[in-house]
């Protein structure tokens, strides 16, 4: 037996061990003393973040090349760790008030993170699939973890059924690709594609398209988006933030590595479907977002629209689209998480505040929340000098550079459209009176720290994007 190089597994193992420690400690602490668990989780995530910095630049694989630790994986690992840490910070008070079991909650967030880390690092379709399931199952449970809420359970059920359906597509796609190429390892598949060009059995392309459909489900692209609003609305709000940021980033990470990079020779076959997908996802997401009465649902549709912008980067292809894709995911992580965190801050335990009306007067009643929400809304709408503008700018720039002028124009028009519903929140907060009088804010210092961090990130990436751009570039180039 040859030596097994365990270094590439270090980040995932670190998070997994933290999850197990949290589960174990959970047994020894009484109700009311479990605040410690959050700190243990955060400590584990911080250690892991330290490891990713230490490992930055490595290019090692393990388990017969099935897991690859390169800068690409490390980049996404850092996004996942950040999202998980912010999620934990923002849910400390929330879950206590909603009477959700703390030990299980933190452990599940950590398990999901483990799955995501492996998804970004998977070099083998089977490993990818296992990682995806690890993540998905943990997130299904997180969605339904608020047992007192009927909507939470309903959302979990919907998410689970739709997710299982998507999984079916993915698995079927993997099977067809295996059948055509004789391997599940990505390098061997791409070798096959390069060595025998144009000699591909039709079911290989079928397999790739099924894979595409599976991914489209996971990122909530139209027309596979039906689960998104219901699930985002029903899930406990911190979990919604986690889903919209981390789960989406994980799916796009795998998409970028598998379809965009390794299966690039097939791109002529999916370029057109993806092009259509990108346009209808952007447009429908924005149009439906306008008509929503609930802010949480509006954000769900806006997250669909943002998936559309990200699809533009995928259409553009790896030469131009890689860097903008990674950078956009980074910027989106801060602003979307921040927006959901503000809703968490408003939430009452039984009936979540979702109406635009519940935001009226917020800007004056709670200036910090009002300003933070304004910042996130403007950033999501793509105003300079905020992160969202920088992200969109590089995506649309890459579209123009690669000759997809129509996509860029439709994208810009869409982001103009999106201003309508993002501004509505701001109008409610500053220009309408009353409404929020009955609403109380959570006394949750950690939540406010999380919102503050997200706001700082949104500002920083917008004003000084140079370092993050370089970081994204190095990460994408490390794909081999």
């Amino acid at each position: 037996m040859t030596d097994v190089n365990l270094v590439p597994l270090l980040p995932a193992t670190q998070v997994l061990l933290t999850a197990l420690v949290v589960l174990l400690l959970d047994l020894f602490y009484q109700e009311g003393e479990k605040g410690l668990l959050a700190w243990v989780s955060l400590l584990g995530l911080a250690l892991c973040a330290g490891e990713t910095l230490f490992l930055w630049g490595s290019q090692e694989s393990a388990f017969g090349d099935a897991v690859m630790l390169d800068n690409f994986a490390l980049f996404f690992t850092q996004i996942f760790l950040g999202a998980a840490a912010l999620t934990i910070l923002s849910s400390v008070h929330y879950i206590r008030q909603a009477e959700i079991h703390e030990g299980e909650f933190y452990a599940l967030v950590l398990f999901a993170t483990t799955g995501m880390i492996l998804m970004a690092a998977a070099k083998d379709l089977i490993v990818f699939f296992l990682a995806l399931e690890t993540m998905s199952i943990a997130v299904y449970i997180l969605t339904g973890i608020w047992r007192a809420s009927g909507r939470s359970s309903e959302a979990a059920m919907k998410y689970f059924l739709m997710g299982a359906f998507a999984t079916g597509f993915l698995l079927y796609g993997i099977a067809l690709i295996y059948g055509a190429t004789g391997s599940t390892h990505l390098n061997e598949i791409s070798n096959y594609l390069i060595e025998s060009p144009e000699d591909w059995p039709p079911y290989l392309i079928g397999g790739a398209l099924l894979l595409l459909v599976g991914f489209a489900f996971k990122v909530g692209a139209v027309p596979f988006h039906f689960w998104v609003p219901d699930v985002y609305e029903g899930a406990p709000t911190p979990v919604t933030g986690f889903m919209s940021v981390a789960v989406k980033a994980a799916a796009f990470a795998a998409w970028a590595r598998i379809l965009m990079h390794q299966l690039a020779p097939l791109d002529s076959d999916w370029a057109f479907p993806l092009w259509v997908l990108a346009i209808i996802t952007m447009t429908l997401g924005n149009l439906l977002a306008i008509s929503q009465a609930s802010v949480k649902r509006m954000l769900a549709y806006s997250s669909i629209a943002h998936a559309g912008y990200l699809l533009v980067a995928l259409v553009v292809g790896e030469e131009w689209g890689g860097l903008p894709l990674l950078f956009y995911l980074l910027t989106y992580a801060f602003m979307a998480f921040g927006a959901f965190a503000v809703i968490t801050a408003l939430a009452e335990t039984e009936q979540s505040p979702e109406d635009y009306r519940d935001f009226s007067g917020l800007g004056f009643k709670h200036p910090f929340l009002g300003m933070a929400m304004t910042l996130f809304m403007l950033s999501l709408a793509g105003f300079p000098p905020l992160a969202g503008f920088a992200g969109k700018f590089y995506v649309f720039r890459s579209a123009v550079l690669s000759g997809h002028l129509a996509l860029a124009i439709i994208g810009v028009l869409n982001s103009l459209l999106s201003v309508i519903y993002y501004l509505r929140v701001i109008v409610a907060m500053y220009m309408e009176e009353g409404g929020a009088e009955g609403k109380s804010f959570r006394q949750a210092p950690y939540l406010y720290i999380a919102i503050g961090l997200a706001a700082l990130g949104t500002l920083y990436l917008g004003i000084l994007p140079a370092r993050a751009l370089e970081w994204s570039r190095v990460a994408f180039l490390s794909l081999d």
């Binding site: 000098p385 720039r397 123009v400 810009v412 109008v427 140079a466 751009l469 570039r473």
Partner: protein, 507 residues
């Protein structure tokens, strides 16, 4: 210190905004004075800049250039030249005065002043940026505080006015962004640096595009870009038919914001055309601006004046007079003569000071009588003599009475225009008559005649209000008597600008 002067001028108000945000919300007077203090250094620096600016040389001075996002060739590039120097001074001056004009704000004091200072940063940034990316960022940064200042602190229909303003301007911004990107990709190597883009002006093709409807009009790439930028700027000016947001925004906005809106924001439109359209797209400028821009300007003058004449609301009247007076700027720019362009830029400055005064004066009477109905007053001259005196000065300056600044710039514009299009010059000159008509009629209705019984007890204009008006009045008189103070600084740069476009005319 002088090395990064423009940066300090731009960002000191922002630092002031951060300080204001950290102050307790109840400390109203502290917030007001801190805000006032934050606008003093930029004003002093602007005055220093004005004195040390070398007017005999064309081209950029006080240059600051640093790498910002090197991967995309985006730099942090600031400088001033003859096109922007007067606007920088105007921005610094009006920001300073308007802080004092805002001392009466009682609702959400902290938010108001923080946004105001942010607006100040955005405005200053627009005038000193020479990198397109930076320019666009400041352009948008300015839009948001304006939206809030109208939408939160405005009058009864503030939400409607704010959203209308926002959508109009945003539409313009998007067109502008697309044009900026198109220029970026047309340049080689790709750059946002305006000076480089100007140097490469002949790269932007003028061959008619094969696409309908451009093939019918004979428009090339350069013409399309010109029009996209022009619409973006025309909305700001506001040129007919994009002017309809202006009366709404002005009527609803608080006094100080109206002053900033008319005094500074409108100038950004004409400034943008001079800074970007003229030197960067000279061939299209020669094709499209000749006649078209001049005719639009003349139409703005007459249409604005006629609309002003029909108004019953004093503030709306002043708003339409802005539409009319910005027409002179367009008319002067379109003449491509030394007098015309110099007159246009001088008119930008003069309109800023005069309209600033007018809106401040409207604010004074509105604060006392709580309405602005022109027919609802009468005989105020007997009740408030000092106020009436200042108003008369502003009105006379606005109608272009010799000896006051408005006269100089309007005459220069008309002199320049006469050489190219006498018909438009005649139309423009008739605007002067219309202006005199509606202003004198207004003076008659509000200030002359028997005093209105209701307002016999109106208090006279107070010290703070006079403090905001006197500096503007002094400038109006100085520039009316000795305009060379300003013109000497502009001429070299504007001549150079004119020389870029002239070779393309009459080909």
């Amino acid at each position: 210190m002088t090395e990064n002067l423009l940066t300090y001028m731009t960002f000191i108000p922002l630092a002031g905004a951060v300080v204001v945000l950290l102050l307790p919300g109840k400390a109203h007077s502290l917030i007001r004075w801190v805000s006032a203090a934050a606008t003093v250094p930029p004003l002093l620096m602007a005055v220093w800049l004005f004195q040390n600016f070398d007017g005999s040389k064309p081209g950029l001075q006080f240059i600051e250039k640093y790498q910002w996002i090197p991967a995309y060739n985006i730099s942090y590039y600031m400088a001033v030249d003859g096109i922007s120097i007067s606007m920088v001074l105007l921005t610094a001056l009006l920001s300073f005065l308007c802080i004092f004009a805002s001392f009466g704000i009682e609702k959400g004091v902290k938010g108001y002043f923080a946004l105001f200072l942010l607006l100040d940063t955005g405005m200053m940034g627009v005038f000193v940026s020479l990198d397109f990316f930076l320019f666009y960022i400041f352009w948008e940064v300015m839009l948001l505080p304006m939206y809030f200042l109208i939408g939160v602190w405005g009058g009864p229909r503030r939400e409607y006015a704010a959203i209308k303003f926002f959508l109009y301007t945003l539409f313009g911004s998007v067109l502008m962004l697309l044009a900026i990107l198109a220029l970026y990709f047309a340049s080689e190597p790709h750059t946002f640096d305006m000076t480089v883009l100007i140097a490469q002006a002949d790269r932007y093709g003028t061959q008619p595009l094969a696409m309908w409807p451009f093939n019918l009009w004979g428009w090339g790439f350069q013409h399309v870009i010109w029009m996209a930028l022009f619409i973006g700027f025309a909305i700001k000016i506001p040129a007919f038919p994009f002017h309809t947001w202006l009366p709404d925004a002005h009527v609803e906005a608080p006094t100080a914001i109206s002053v900033i809106l008319a005094g500074v924001l409108l100038k950004m439109g004409t400034y943008g055309i001079l800074r970007i359209n003229y030197p960067m797209l000279p061939a299209a400028t020669a094709d499209l601006a000749y006649w078209f821009l001049g005719a639009l300007g003349a139409w703005n003058i007459i249409y604005g004046a006629l609309c002003a004449m029909a108004q019953k609301d004093l503030k709306k009247l002043v708003a339409y007079s802005s539409v009319s007076h910005m027409g002179y700027v367009m008319l002067g720019m379109a003449s491509f003569t030394t007098q015309g362009i110099n007159g246009a830029v001088l008119q930008m400055f003069n309109h800023g000071t005069i309209t600033g005064m007018l809106f401040l004066l409207v604010g004074v009477i509105y604060d006392r009588a709580h309405h602005r109905d022109i027919d609802g007053f009468g005989g105020l001259a007997a009740i408030m003599p000092v106020y009436t005196g200042v108003t008369a000065l502003a009105f006379f300056a606005s109608m272009g009475l010799p000896g006051l600044s408005g006269f100089i710039s309007e005459v220069l514009v008309l002199l320049g225009t006469w050489q190219k299009y006498p018909v438009l010059a005649i139309l423009g000159a008739s605007g002067v008559v219309l202006t005199a008509g509606y202003l004198l009629w207004t003076i008659q209705r509000i200030y002359l005649g028997p005093p209105n019984e209701k307002y016999l007890k109106l208090p006279e204009i107070n010290g703070r209000e006079l403090f905001t008006l006197v500096p503007l009045g002094v400038i109006v008189i100085i520039l009316g008597v000795y305009p060379s103070v300003m013109l000497d600084l502009l001429r070299a740069s504007l001549d150079q600008l004119n020389q870029i476009v002239l070779p393309h005319l009459h080909q």
